[in-house]
């Protein structure tokens, strides 16, 4: 046997066991201290938390005056948030100047809305079509008569008295339900081959998207009365809704156009080859796919609309934010160092809950409708 020099005769030493990849320590090693820079950032972050969390906790809970507190407690040195102010003015924040004995009417509207909306949002709930008709057609009419009164022996309550969260919700629900179909029509018009229709849609979309909502609301409040025949008065509510809806529908149109452009030509051609009419092609083949692509964009527009309702003070409506601001400025009996801050924080929390809820729901829907395009 020849001597083969490069064949080892002894065993290689066993390698050390691999590092632990599970458990708290390994997690901290990987996510908090993987490099010196990482460790420094972690320390900075922890310092920041130590700096900011205790005062915030003190303001919101530790030193805060609870819902049953008094204004004297709120005026004390070092007092935190004045939740007593919120709980005592809650009625105004929700209903505005709506007559107190009649507040059961908005309550019914709220309850009915929740009752109809929840099954509409839960994908497994049955009777979707009936439910949608009830929510989109019957419910608005019923709510209008219930809130405005003047029929069935209900006392009439003019829209000037409506306010607070009630107004915010009404404007956003109507705005959302109207701006989506309007946006779809505008988007289809923009894709149309007919030059006049295309021009009209493009100029509307571009004009509206170019200017701030505040100028459109200015227009609605100052110029709409000029445009109408003499003697017509337009309800402030209607002005606000028209302004917000038109504004959002232009953005909605652009979102949906993105979806339409993402549909391959073959789908259009296949639908034509089946002999479907234009509206059949759009409503059965193209739009279901297009809208599915752009659900996040659509919900973002809804969220933007919901936030934009805070601008309706320009046409003189008292929405949630205006109600809070009015109370902050005028409720002298609640004046203290933190009253205004607490009021704005309360309004922010309400807006945040609605907007964050919508965005989470859109993520949920996106995952549910994801039919395998995403890898």
């Amino acid at each position: 046997m020849t001597d083969i020099g490069f064949v080892r005769s002894d065993l290689v030493d066993a390698r050390p066991a691999p590092r632990r990849t599970t458990g708290a320590l390994a997690w901290a090693q990987k996510n908090l201290f993987s490099t010196p820079l990482d460790a420094a950032l972690t320390l900075l972050g922890i310092l920041f938390l130590f700096w900011i969390v205790p005062p915030l906790y003190g303001f919101f809970f530790g030193n805060a005056v609870g819902p049953n507190g008094t204004v004297e407690q709120c005026r004390m040195e070092n007092a935190g948030a004045c939740w007593a102010y919120i709980s005592s003015e809650m009625e105004f924040f929700i209903y505005g100047f709506y007559d107190i004995p009649e507040q059961w009417r908005p309550n019914i509207v709220f309850a009915l809305g929740a009752l109809l909306l929840v099954p509409l949002l839960v994908p497994k709930a049955p009777f979707k079509r009936t439910n949608a008709v009830l929510f989109l057609v019957v419910y608005p009419i019923l709510s209008y008569f219930l809130l405005a009164g003047g029929v069935f022996g209900l006392r009439e309550i003019p829209t000037e008295k409506w306010g607070g969260l009630l107004v915010t919700l009404i404007i956003s629900v109507i705005g959302i339900t109207l701006s989506l179909p309007l946006g779809i029509i505008l988007a289809l018009g923009r894709q149309s081959k007919m030059p006049i229709i295309k021009t009209v849609c493009v100029s509307f979309i571009e004009l509206v998207r170019a200017v701030p909502l505040i100028t459109i609301l200015f227009m609605a409040s100052i110029m709409l009365p000029l445009f109408m025949p003499q003697g017509t008065t337009i309800d402030k509510f209607l002005r606000a809704i028209v302004g917000v809806t038109l504004f959002t529908s232009a953005y909605m149109a652009e979102v949906i156009r993105g979806g339409l452009q993402a549909i391959p030509r073959g789908q259009y051609e296949a639908a034509e080859a089946l002999g479907l009419s234009y509206w059949q092609r759009m409503s059965f083949i193209i739009l279901p796919q297009a809208i599915k692509h752009v659900i996040p964009g659509i919900v973002n527009s809804f969220i933007a609309l919901f936030k934009d309702t805070s601008l309706v003070y320009i046409v003189g409506m008292k929405d949630l934010l205006e109600a809070v601001k009015t109370k902050n400025d005028t409720a002298l009996e609640w004046q203290s160092a933190n009253t205004a801050t607490t009021g704005y924080i309360f309004a922010a929390m309400v807006f945040w809950v609605f907007c964050f809820g919508m965005s989470r729901y859109s993520i949920y829907m996106e995952n549910r409708l994801n039919t395998g395009y995403k890898r």
């Binding site: 950032l41 006049i196 100052i222």
Partner: protein
Amino acid sequence: MTTQELGHQSAPRVRFFNDPVIRGIIYQVVVAVVLVGFIFWIVGNTAANLAAQNKTTGFDFLWKTAGFDISFSLLPWSRGSYYWEAFLVGLINTLLVAFIGIICATILGFTLGIARLSSNFIISSLATIYIELIRNIPLLLQLFFWYFAVLKAMPAVRDSIALPFDSFINQRGIFVPKPLPDAQFGFVWIGLAVAVIAVVVLRQWAKKRLEATGQRFPVFLTSLAILIGVTGLVWLVSGANVGFEPPVLERFNFRGGLALPPEFVALAFGLTIYTASFIAETVRAGIQSVNRGQTEAAQSLGLKDNDRLRLVIVPQAMRVIIPPLTSQYLNLTKNSSLGAAIGYPELVNVFAGTSLNQTGRAIECIAITMVVYLSFSLITSAIMNWYNGRVRLVER
């Protein structure tokens, strides 16, 4: 002959209202007629309404004396100024707050967007909390918060809070020292301009050399050295000096220094905070849109970390980031109109608000305001189209 028969077969008879071409024409005519009729109706109503209110129309009011005060103006402004000057003051105030907001929001937004993608748990959670919190609260509410709950709740002038560098903050805003460059300081600006030109020339030369010979030149460090060196040298040689005039507390208010009114501070701050959260999401989406394979391919080409980012990742991410980023800039500019709600004298407040109320020329004022925003938007989209054309993926 069958073929001939087929060729002679006339097109199937279609009723004219089922012909798509004719239908299209009919639809369009109907739309056009309705639209024109609607416009005529509106114009007629408006004319009747204006006549009934004895109002005149036209742009002659622009050359009349405005006679109101504007609290914050970069241009000289007095009660005797004309309405067109009020328009200019508003426009410049809008541009000023938009400019400052865009710069700050970009810095903050990019930082947050990168932080949200960080592998560090604490950093990414903090960024996520910030973004989700700020994005879901209306901007107007945030502006009210900063203005009424924070800045207006600051102590009165006598108890001003002292900040570093001789600055003070109180109910009436922030007071900072005013830089007073002396006569020689002009040379420093000239030096800076020369340095910038030198850097541009250097970059082009380095690029040419790289393409011709493949040799690299440390462009960044050299540029930095030129910028600092040349400017600093000129500064030293010319003996230029910048004095600072600190704000001094007198009996009722601060004198001297640079006063930033609370409206401006609240609006710039609010716009920055709000828009940064949107920019952060844009940046995150852009970075995530670059396929992992690109990083791996760059590594296998042997590029260093730095070059990989600079030559492969960032250019591709920027192509995705820039279009939504510009629309965020545009949004910020449009959102600056909310300054009207906290009394910052920007375009909507000064022109579509005060001027409109005083002159009663609703149509003219709103139209001019809208045209201004429309032209911002058109200019931006023109630049964007040019940019998109430049960076578009060239496919087969």
